[in-house]
């Protein structure tokens, strides 16, 4: 047997050498693929560096003229006199965001509690699905609804409130149609889905045995929630609220429609007009083309906004990861305790006690009937707040369907908006001209050019950005794991996620539109660039977890079959992750399709059907924005029709995304 196995090694060796020499494996491509993917990841750095440098350089004049502190805190933004102190804008941003948090967070936490702890199982999916629907509605539609429906409806209530509580500072006086409060209210409705979703996720991680321990001690349901669920998920709720705050700070179009646009000072009361950092950029950028100082001031406002959002998002992420690591820590503790007890050590008294949830309420409330009353009141108000959260959605959807459905006809989709209606209102809005021609009785036309333009702008952005985003995600998962460069790129992507869309719009405006790249100032492809910048971090962030879910066993199996790494990625990793990648890309596209602020900066004003992306293009969000800010009710109707169209398109995208997710082969 020994002899039979010892073959002439030279023969076999020669055969092997020959074989190795002749085998074409394609592995020579590996370093190239790795290099190319690394370069793409490096592109993120180049982009972001150029973005920051460009903004700083352009904003320098205003910082040089006023000094950073004066620019931030002085309250005199007077473009007509060329003095710029952003204090009033900062104040407006802070006021609206605080209103949004005060109203939005309790409601969002209540919905999260209701869905995870109190609601009948059948209702849970329905409510969380509905809230996700709320997240898919683009902000311009919120602005439209707030401006045309909510603001007039609640003006009376606001006036009553202002009169009754006028003794409180900052409340009282005449209620303006557009004001801080109504803006904050709409922002609250917009952040509820985010805050609620993150709170739900965190609450779902509360260990069932802790909850059962509280219930077994005789706690009522509400006492259980207070003693276990809320303390456990506090960090996550704070983190989610901060993310919501980040969203509220950067929100542009809804605010621009609702806040009025006064910049000369901070309003006297909660119910007076004002401006935020984001809204002033959207409302004034066009007139600023004439004045370099004005432009520099707007860019300064954009930088300020970016800086604040960056800090808020960083803090938020810190809180959320703390909430997640708490679970890991608890498991570690449990393991340690188990090991200690296995080793025969008696667990120390205090550490064991601290793990038991402290049901303090049963001791405070002595009679059971009193505790029961507290329980039912608390549960009732949680349910009530959930209803409050769902109410605006129902109202919004009902209005969309009724008003928008009324505007929609076959002609609506097959004709372009007439030049008069679209262009005049736009000119009015942006150019400060007084060409407010009467449009009454005139045929306004439909929204064909807006639909086609939207598809063109978003499609162009998606075609370029989705592959790049997935490639960067592939780099991060396949090559960048554990390297400093991978971690650095990952961090940059997080930074990019936090950039408010209006700042991207501003960036494209100053770097592509003002310098007339391509021979024309405004062009559809420039809007695509802005949307692409917005989509890139979303695509990367949604692709990362999907690619990480591809079991490494599959990669190893393919590698062990003698497949070069690039082919493993192309033929194994990507096909396995495909459904999830499609979902992420579609959600990014849906998000971009509803963006308004970056488009009005870049695509310009157009009404006719144009195919050429190197020229002004009409888009659905821009059309809605132009129509809602016009004065004729016929244009408002067209805005509703366009809004319904946009929402249906976005919901279709989200639906397809969901279906793709369901096809996923990796759980």
């Amino acid at each position: 047997m020994e002899s039979s196995t010892v073959k002439a090694p030279t023969d076999a060796g020669a055969r092997l050498r020959d074989h190795l020499a002749r085998t074409k494996t394609g592995s020579w491509l590996d370093p190239w693929v790795k290099g190319a993917l690394t370069a793409l990841a490096g592109l993120i750095f180049v982009l972001l560096a150029y973005f920051l440098i460009k903004l700083f350089v352009e904003a320098r004049p205003v910082f040089a003229a006023y000094g950073v502190l004066d620019f931030v805190f002085k309250v005199d933004w007077l473009p007509s006199q060329d003095t710029y102190g952003a204090g009033a804008l900062v104040a407006g941003t802070v006021i609206t965001s605080i209103v949004a948090l005060i109203i939005g967070v309790p409601v969002a936490v209540a919905t999260a509690l209701f869905v995870t702890e109190l609601a009948p199982v059948k209702l849970r999916g329905l409510i969380s699905g509905t809230l996700e629907l709320l997240a898919a509605v683009p902000s311009v539609v919120y602005g439209l609804w707030g401006f045309l429906f909510l603001a007039p409806k609640i003006k009376g209530i606001e006036q009553w409130f202002a009169d009754t509580f006028s003794f409180i500072p900052f409340i009282g006086g005449e209620v303006s149609a557009a004001n801080y409060f109504i803006t904050g209210l709409i922002l609250a409705i917009m952040i509820i889905p985010i805050v609620s979703a993150i709170s739900r996720e965190v609450m779902a991680t509360v260990p069932a045995d802790q909850k059962e321990a509280a219930l077994a001690l005789g706690a009522t349901r509400w006492e259980m929630i207070r003693s276990t669920v809320l303390p456990y998920s506090r960090a996550g709720i704070v983190g989610g609220s901060m993310l919501g705050l980040g969203r509220a700070l950067g929100e542009t179009i809804a605010v621009a429609i609702l806040i009025g646009g006064a910049t000369s000072g901070v309003g006297d009361s909660l119910f007076s007009q004002g401006s935020t950092l984001a809204s002033v950029i959207a409302l004034e950028f066009q007139e600023a083309t004439a004045s370099p100082e004005h432009r520099a001031a707007l860019i300064g406002a954009g930088l300020l906004l970016f800086a604040v959002t960056l800090v808020i998002n960083a803090v938020a992420r810190g809180y959320i990861s703390r909430a997640e690591s708490r679970l890991v820590r608890a498991e570690k503790d449990a393991k340690k305790a188990a090991a200690a007890s296995a080793a025969g050590e008696a667990p120390k008294g205090p550490s064991l006690m601290s793990r038991v949830p402290r049901p303090h309420l049963p001791e405070l409330v002595t009679s059971l009937s009193g505790r029961k009353r507290v329980d039912s009141i608390a549960r009732g108000s949680v349910g009530f707040l959930t209803g409050v959260a769902l109410l605006p959605l129902v109202a919004l959807l009902a209005f969309l369907v009724i008003r928008g459905g009324g505007a929609i006809s076959w002609d609506f989709f097959t004709t372009d908006p007439t030049g008069a209606a679209g262009a005049v209102s736009n000119a009015n809005r942006f150019l400060g001209g007084d060409a407010a021609a009467s449009t009454a009785g005139q045929d306004l036309g439909g929204i064909r050019s807006a639909i086609v333009g939207s598809l063109e702008v978003v499609g162009l952005a998606a075609v370029v950005v989705v592959p790049i985003g997935i490639a960067v995600a592939v780099y991060l998962v396949e090559y960048g794991q554990g390297t400093w460069f991978g971690g650095f790129v990952r961090y940059l992507v997080d930074v990019m996620t936090g950039v408010p869309s209006v700042v991207f719009g501003l960036f494209v405006y100053i770097s592509l539109v003002v310098s007339q790249v391509g021979g024309v100032p405004f062009a559809g492809w420039k809007a695509s660039v802005a949307l692409g910048l917005l989509m890139l971090p979303i695509v990367i962030n949604s692709s990362l977890p999907v690619l990480r879910l591809v079991p490494s066993a599959l990669r190893e199996a393919a590698l062990a079959l003698g497949v070069p790494r690039w082919k493993v990625i192309l033929r194994i990793v990507l096909p396995t992750a495909l459904p999830g990648l499609v979902t992420g890309a579609l959600l990014a596209i849906a998000r971009a399709a509803g963006e308004t602020a970056p488009i009005i900066f870049t695509a310009g004003v157009a009404t006719a059907l144009v195919g050429d992306p190197n020229g002004p293009l009409n888009t659905l969000p821009a059309q809605i924005y132009a129509d809602v800010t016009a004065s004729s009710s016929a244009q408002h109707d067209r805005a509703w029709g366009a809004a319904l169209t946009l929402v249906v398109l976005i919901l279709l995208l989200s639906l397809v995304a969901r279906l793709a997710q369901r096809r996923s082969r990796i759980s």
Partner: protein, 294 residues
């Protein structure tokens, strides 16, 4: 369930190894069509020689200088307690070890006298020569049974063999043909765990490597599936050199021609399986095989 009439009895194969004429499972040999597609490998066994092999994870040496010879057309079973470095050593042999960031290998690993770690050697080509079967069955979820088996051929753009014939050959070789021949286009992940593992073995032998490394191939399988895979290993050694890492000493005794015992990164002893289990030279081996520690 198919039963192969030509399954060799385990006892004889352990006792006198290559006494039986070299052949693939009889069903394949009997089929003239597949015979034509198969290059004559019979009789040209391939051996792997390790010379002072050290495997590192960063600064941590997991394999501390192993000299070992894996003989051609034999099953060498690797046993030892968890963390003794047997899986790391196995993964060093087809250079899968270096896929882990910071991992590296020192020493010489010779396949038929050729150093697989020599500079300029294509790692991908080496892995085609040295196939691997993993602990958990890992069929590609996006592919059908047929595509899974043909994956290696397709990825490597092997054009001079008929893929369908090779798929049948490999599935017969893995003892899976009768169970799946009517549903070759069904997804590979739809099979049972044991079938999936045999599918992975079929996928590995379809590209005809010289050596097959098996990393605890039965640890995720039930006893009946384990038995099937063990019988399969006995047949596969007619054509391939097999290294089997196992946690299960009974399994090593059943299928190993030779058995190597590793402890704390060192190779303690390698010898005929019967000797290892009845009369080991080293006391540590004796303690381990008699269950004194694990």
């Amino acid at each position: 369930m198919s039963t192969d009439p030509q399954t060799p009895t385990r006892d004889t194969s352990i006792a006198d190894g290559v006494e039986t004429p070299l052949q693939t499972p009889a069903s394949i040999a009997a089929d003239p069509a597949t015979k034509a597609a198969r290059p004559a490998v019979t009789g040209t066994g391939h051996e792997v020689t390790l010379k002072n092999v050290k495997s590192f994870y960063g600064d941590n040496m997991a394999v501390k200088g192993v000299d070992l010879e894996y003989r051609a057309n034999q099953v060498t079973a690797m046993i030892g307690p968890s963390g003794c470095g047997k899986s790391t050593l196995l993964r060093s042999i087809n250079r899968m070890h270096e896929e882990i960031p910071g991992a590296r290998v020192e020493g010489e690993i010779l396949l038929d006298g050729v150093d697989i770690n020599a500079t300029g050697t294509d790692v991908v080509a080496i892995r085609r020569m040295i196939g691997m079967v993993f602990q958990r069955p890992n069929p590609f979820p996006t592919m059908s049974i047929r595509e899974n088996v043909a994956a290696g051929l397709k990825f490597n753009k092997v054009k001079d063999v008929d893929h369908d014939e090779r798929v049948e050959w490999a599935l017969r070789g893995a003892g899976l043909w009768d169970e799946v021949k009517d549903r070759l286009n069904a997804p590979g992940v739809g099979l049972s765990g044991g079938q999936q593992q045999r599918l992975c073995i079929a996928r590995t032998i379809a590209i005809k490597p010289d050596v097959i490394l098996m990393d605890e191939p039965c640890s995720a399988l039930d006893p009946i599936a384990t038995l099937k895979v063990e019988e399969l290993i006995q047949e596969l050694k007619q054509e391939f050199t097999i290294v089997l890492v196992t946690h299960n000493m009974q399994q090593a005794a059943r299928v190993g021609d030779r058995t190597a015992f590793m402890y704390l990164g060192d190779l303690v002893e390698v010898d005929e399986t019967s000797k290892i289990f009845t009369n080991p030279s080293d006391t540590r081996t004796e303690e381990y095989v008699s269950g004194k520690f694990s």
